[in-house]
Amino acid sequence: MAKTYVRSKDVFINCPFDSSYQPIFNAIVFAVCELGFRARCALELDDAGDTRLDKITRIIGECKYGIHDISATELNPTIHLPRFNMPLELGLFLGCKRYGSPSQRSKSLLILDREPYRYRNFISDVSGQDIHAHGADPNRAIIEVRNWLASKGAILPGGATIQKRYARFMSMLPAMCQALALDSGELTFTDLSLVVNRWLISTR
């Protein structure tokens, strides 16, 4: 099996991809990029040759860091079943960290939920990991991501500074999309990553 190269600046973002979560997802992607890291997630690839699980395990293998949001693990009112993808990918990340090569064992992760201690009701085995609540607030998610990455020893901009820059980015996004002849809802994850990248380079 080919050895996977762990990229020290890559952060795997494991979260819901539906429209109701989009504000938090955008905020996390922005914060990760602003702090000098690269946001990765399953949305970045569309290779028909790979199964979705192959895609995800490859990305997990390449990322030194992981942000796992388990706030959407609740019953669907129609089918009465919860979504298990986020806990599954969290398990894959933990397994990689536990059983992988020395470079994989240096992985670090942040677990986010809507409320503190809610996880004890459905995934109590993760007790002892770094678990924080964002209260479904994008600004709080930015603070949690910033404080977690700052705990790795890097000197980083403050959470309030990142919140202000994110607010400015979001205020400029409609004008940017208009200039690009795009609807902001049409931006894919790779588009958003590039737009955030160019915006941060041009005006920080």
Binding site: C33, E34, R38, T190, L194, N197, R198
Partner: protein, 100 residues
């Protein structure tokens, strides 16, 4: 301390140094002079210097006391230069600049 982004851009006569969010710019004869002046602004404050080519596209970025921005993981259908042009059209609009 708030950070600033300085753009070294081509001007009608030579080059101009303009801070993102500012309404005016400082003229220079050569690009090198503009870059040196921008560096003086960032000796103690965090920020970045965006150096443009003669055609206006971004050639290089220097980071001062700020994390270096990583390139995106995959190639987007959008092109960086197209986004840069879209940004330049609104970059210096003071309406978008909150006090840091």
């Amino acid at each position: 301390m708030p950070s600033s982004t300085y753009h070294v851009m081509p001007a009608k006569k030579g080059w101009a140094l303009r801070r993102a969010g500012a309404t005016d710019s400082k003229p220079f004869t050569t690009q090198r002079e503009a870059i040196e002046d921008a560096r003086k602004h960032l000796t103690s404050a965090p920020g970045q210097i965006v150096i443009h080519n003669a055609d206006g596209n971004i050639r290089d970025v220097e980071f001062y006391k700020l994390p270096k921005i990583q390139p995106p993981p995959r190639i987007s259908r959008l092109k960086a230069r197209k986004i840069d042009r879209a940004l330049t059209s609104i970059l210096f609009d003071p309406r978008f600049y909150l006090t840091n």
